[in-house]
């Protein structure tokens, strides 16, 4: 059966869900990469951004099958088991890189090939522990170690962002892998996430969810790193070939995130022999004015998290979108509570469930406002989802579970100041302390 036919048959049966790689999610379902933006408002600077990127510049699939200049086309990745030996990596930008070792196999593919003088991205996915390792300007050394310009490690089950102003293996400080168009997704009929793309010149600024900029241009008519775009809904994709149509639909629904300086409207993907380069070349029928910049600020629930708000805005709210649990032997973080609040409606029935056996939530159903108690024991990270179908609302709490190193608490004794005098009556005594193993 031709691959294109397979794609068409599958289009109607693929359920809406977060992208996965092996048994790992590619970030939680409520991660910004996995959020649709087709109903979000335009960014006020949309027209200006399109004009500076290139209003007549064509679209381009920067990925495909076969070789170009002797190397696969696109940004490759490799999946490894948790037993993959880790090797040392030294970084040029060590202060903004996650230190090694990284589980890089000797045959890890390098973007552009082993002799590339380009970005030389190397992407490794530990499919046992659901950890993504990414490097920029990566070079293998004869002793098995690697050198790289920068490197970043991402927990694929969590919504963590890198520290603000830190780069990653990408200029925007974001992960690369979740923004790649992958053939397995297209073969399955749908890309359910935003794609990565480049622009020739960007602003010396970044916006959520980006963490880093790479420009000296202060003109606000240029787009900042992290700016999201989408293909206009009015753009008719019906006449395009199956592979291209899946990519175009993703660009309309999920859009694309500006993550690096490069050629105009170059959309990133992973190389795969299944791609039909002739079909992908149809993206050149698009031009810059077919895109528009999106204001996705309403999705943000925390500037330091990639989690997005969900459900009908304002109807169902959770006091927290992420919780951390630690365990060490038999010790585990105490249960934590998350109030569920319905606004503007009353008597709404809801259910709460966990997607991991080691994470429990209580109660699992109720009516109206409530307080959930979430517990975790040693195991995988996951999420608790609260759904209220009657009002088409849902919310999710990311539950991060990690082993903790036993140790003494730490913290600070802040007030009163030392050697305070003349004190009378009530004296506020304050500070903070770690609660890692409370």
């Amino acid at each position: 059966m031709p691959r294109g036919t397979l794609a068409l048959l599958c289009l109607a049966v693929v359920p809406a869900q977060a992208q996965i790689i092996g048994s790992c999610p590619v970030f939680p379902a409520n991660n910004v990469w996995n959020a649709r933006v087709d109903t979000l408002p335009l960014d006020a600077k949309s027209a200006a951004y399109v004009n500076t990127i290139g209003p007549t510049s064509p679209g381009h699939a920067d990925f495909g099958s076969g070789l170009y200049n002797g190397a696969p086309i696109g940004i490759p990745y490799i999946a490894v088991p948790g037993s993959q030996p880790k090797v040392a990596v030294s970084f040029q930008y060590a202060s903004e890189s996650d230190p090694g070792p990284y589980p890089i196999p000797p045959n890890a593919p390098i973007e552009g090939g082993s002799s590339s003088t380009g970005d030389r991205h190397v992407l490794v996915i530990d499919q046992t522990n659901c950890i993504l390792y990414e490097m920029f300007a990566a070079y293998p050394q004869t002793d098995g170690s690697w050198t790289a310009g920068s490197g970043a490690v991402f927990n694929l089950t969590a919504n963590n962002l890198r520290p603000s102003t830190w780069t990653s293996a990408d200029a925007a400080g974001l992960p690369i892998f979740p923004g790649l168009a992958r053939y397995d997704e297209v073969a399955a009929g749908a890309i359910k996430h935003a794609l990565r793309f480049t622009a020739p010149q960007t602003q010396k600024a970044f916006i959520w969810p980006a963490r880093h900029q790479a420009s000296s241009i202060t003109d606000t008519n240029y787009p900042p790193m992290g700016q999201r775009f989408r293909l206009k809904a009015s753009f008719n994709i019906a006449s395009f070939s199956p592979q291209t149509r899946v990519v175009l639909l993703a660009l309309q629904q999920y859009g694309m995130i500006l993550t690096d300086n490069g050629s105009a409207w170059y959309v990133s993907g992973a190389p795969d022999p299944g791609w039909d380069n002739n079909q992908l070349h149809e993206l050149s029928q698009l031009q810059g004015t077919d895109f528009e910049a999106v204001d996705e600020s309403s999705l943000m629930v925390d500037p330091n998290s990639a989690a997005v708000s969900s459900g009908t805005p304002g109807v169902l709210s959770l006091s927290r979108t992420s919780l951390n649990f630690g365990y060490s032997g038999s010790l585990v973080t105490s249960p934590q509570t998350v109030p569920v609040t319905f606004n503007g409606v009353s008597g709404v029935s809801w259910t709460a469930s966990s997607n991991q056996p080691n994470i429990t939530v209580s109660p699992t159903a109720g009516t109206g406002n409530a307080v959930l108690q979430i517990s975790a024991r040693a195991g995988l990270s996951g999420a608790v989802t609260v759904s209220a179908p009657a009002v088409s609302a849902s919310g999710q709490v990311q539950v991060n579970v990690a082993s903790a190193v036993p140790g003494n608490p730490y913290g600070s004794f802040d007030t009163p100041a030392n050697n305070s005098s003349g004190i009378a009556g009530a004296l506020p005594v304050t500070g903070w302390r770690s609660i890692a193993s409370k």
Partner: protein, 210 residues
């Protein structure tokens, strides 16, 4: 407090601090992956009048004290977060004093008639008007009203005898939490006596969850 025994580490137990959710966003941002990182901030309202004498002017609540904050975790690990030396001089105090009893530090409250209790006294020779007009309840730094004052409480009357308001130090205020967002807030009382000498008392965080 003054009757607490001295522990094996040579320190005298005063009380347990309370963790306050979302009171320290700086700590939360610094330790984004730490469990319960939103609950790193702690607080304890130390009523210095109840301290024993420690080399100061005559009477309890006077002298020099070394305050320790001892953190203990679930596995039994302990750490002294630091020492603060303070000189307490209630004998020379010139301002009203007291505290808020409810909501407790970090408490979660709800409803349209939550009762905010507190008490206030001032120094000998002065008084706090019994109609409560010089006591202002502040929520998030905004005045929301005056409490009903001049209520008797035996423990305060016993511990602070002889002051003008000793037999009516308690006040209460009905707080309509439905007018507040479901989130963390602050509350305090600002108390003035009949000579215009004032001070803030009882400042603390609390959470509204309706």
């Amino acid at each position: 407090m003054g009757n607490e025994p001295t522990a094996s580490n040579g320190l005298v137990f005063i009380g347990n601090a309370t963790f306050v959710d979302d009171s320290r966003s700086d700590v939360q941002a610094t330790y984004p992956n730490a469990p319960l990182n939103y609950r790193g901030g702690w607080g304890y309202m130390l009523l210095t009048n109840l301290l024993p004498n420690s080399g100061g002017a005559a009477g309890p609540g006077n002298g020099s004290f070394n305050l320790h904050a001892i953190a203990v975790n679930k596995s039994g690990g302990t750490f002294d977060l630091g020492t603060r030396t303070v000189t307490v001089d209630n004998a020379q105090a010139s301002k009203p004093f007291g505290t808020i009893d409810t909501p407790a530090q970090g408490a979660t409250i709800s409803g349209n008639a939550y009762v905010n209790f507190g008490w206030a006294l001032t120094q000998s020779g002065y008084n706090i008007p019994v109609d409560g007009s010089t006591i202002t309840v502040m929520v998030d730094g905004v005045a929301v009203g005056h409490p009903t004052y001049n209520q008797y409480r035996s423990d305060i009357a016993t511990f602070f005898p002889g002051l003008a308001n000793s037999n009516g130090a308690v006040g209460f205020f009905y707080l309509d939490t439905t007018t507040l967002a479901n989130s963390v807030h602050t509350i305090s009382w600002v108390v003035y006596d009949n000579q215009g000498r004032g001070d803030g008392i009882g400042s603390r965080y609390f959470t509204v969850e309706n």
